[in-house]
């Protein structure tokens, strides 16, 4: 699914974030990317999303080199991703409207299939994520959890095959966060999506990733991978192995500091 080969990337101040970095993600896998702030987690996600371009090396998805955002890749950010001037309904419909705006040109939208039934698709996702009651509110009027649900609905209504999330639940309170983590796993199970979740929280990495990529000291040269066999399953949260998995991740994270 994702093939990162010999990737090099530098921050604008010339700090090398990645140097000869390679990594593979197979279709349907659930990954968490764990690391400290400034360790290149978000940069990696933006490179995969086609919002940044590597200095050297390639990022390919399904064999295609990524030179611009790919229509079948969904991206959900921690905050500020919704249009403040559009209602929840219009925010959910935004991706479909953009597809309609360009038509199925293969560049901004997948080739071959024009968007039809935008209203119905939007309404179905509003219903699915429990947003119908706030559909006519603006993002500033709803809770943080509802805002992230809106972002998820907007992204999934485009039927992506790859979902990238950058600290998606970091600004939410604990019950809302758990709720949305479970929702993410459920939707993953329903759609067979490949997921890559960037997080600085050990518990979130253990819950959402069946494999964990650890990013540590700059520049990142090798992919430090920790298998987490119980992860990406809502039931894992309550199993005793979950605590062990967290302890393992904590030790590994300490080691790269």
């Amino acid at each position: 699914m994702i093939e990162v080969d010999g990737l090099a990337f530098h921050y604008p101040d010339d700090t090398a974030v990645f140097e000869g970095f390679s990594w593979r993600v197979a279709p349907g896998e659930a990954w968490a990317v764990l690391g400290l702030s400034g360790g290149g987690k978000t940069t990696l996600l933006y490179l995969i999303a086609g919002l940044r371009l590597p200095v050297q090396g390639t990022v390919r998805i399904g064999g295609e080199p990524i030179l611009r955002p790919r229509p079948q890749t969904g991206l959900i950010l921690q905050d500020f991703g919704l249009l403040p001037w559009a209602t929840v309904r219009d925010n959910v419909a935004l991706g479909l409207r953009i597809r309609g705006f360009y038509g199925p040109d293969g560049k901004h939208a997948p080739a071959g299939e024009a968007v039809t039934a935008r209203r119905e698709i939007t309404q179905a996702w509003l219903d699915r994520l429990g947003l119908s009651r706030v559909a006519d509110s603006f993002p500033g009027q709803i809770s943080g959890g509802q805002r992230q649900r809106t972002a998820i609905a907007r992204t999934l209504s485009l039927q992506p095959d790859l979902l990238l999330m950058d600290e998606p639940f970091a600004s939410l309170d604990a019950p809302t966060r758990e709720d949305l983590q479970n929702l993410t796993l459920q939707l993953r199970a329903e759609t067979g999506l490949t997921t890559v979740v960037v997080t600085h929280t050990i518990e979130e990495a253990a819950l959402l990733g069946a494999q964990v990529l650890l990013l540590g000291q700059l520049p990142n040269r090798t992919a430090h991978i920790i298998p987490n066999p119980g992860g990406a399953d809502p039931a894992f949260h309550t199993s005793p192995r979950y605590t062990k998995a967290c302890a393992l991740l904590r030790r590994e994270l300490e080691a790269v500091r």
């Binding site: 905050d79 919704l82 249009l83 403040p84 001037w85």
Partner: protein, 246 residues
Amino acid sequence: MKRTSVLLAAVALLIGWQIAAWMVNRPILPPPLEVLTIFATEIFGELGLDFLASLGRVVASMALAVATAVPAGLALGQMPALNRIFSPVIYILYPIPKVVLVPVILLFLGISDLAKVVIIFLILFFQILVLVRDQAAALRAELVASVRSLGAGRRALFRFVYYPASLPAILTALRQSIGTAVAVLYVAELFATQRGLGYYIYLHGSTLFDYPRMYAGVVAMSLLGLGLYFGVDWLQRRLCPWQFAS
């Protein structure tokens, strides 16, 4: 603002005017009824034509200012390098009272309509430029990134992000500068023209000493300013409902 309170305020002002007219008791302050009667007939004659001439100049200036200041403001707001070059220039030009440029512009552009449009344009241009620039600069990079990830290229970003993001700034700038624009229009219409409310007021006040007509002109000019202000206010409520949602 509630409609009834606005109406009440208007009635209170008219009563104040009437009382003042009684106290002054001289032709230089005719009572409101006399002025409004003349206004009601004149507005379908000379006064109406002058009103339309003034309105046309303001609307043309507004259109020109929006068409040029919005793209410029968006570009400056989204390109910090460009803004670093131009921001000192804008910093110096922005506070200059543009009305002092009236004689200069008349020298260069003559006594045409264009000169009057350009003067008002200059006032509106800087106001819109600065507000749109600051609004565009405040757009979160995360917002642009996530809309790009939905497939938006340059055109869709303009349509779905930059245009709606700058709309409140445009309308706020227009609302704030309409008073100044109409005031400067008055000054501009005192010079070498035979059409426009400025000319109408000046002609009846200082040349013909027809005070009720002069006041009718003042009423028309006030209504022009008020009408444009309320019009923009109404547009803002229609086009930017999120600003008024609690």
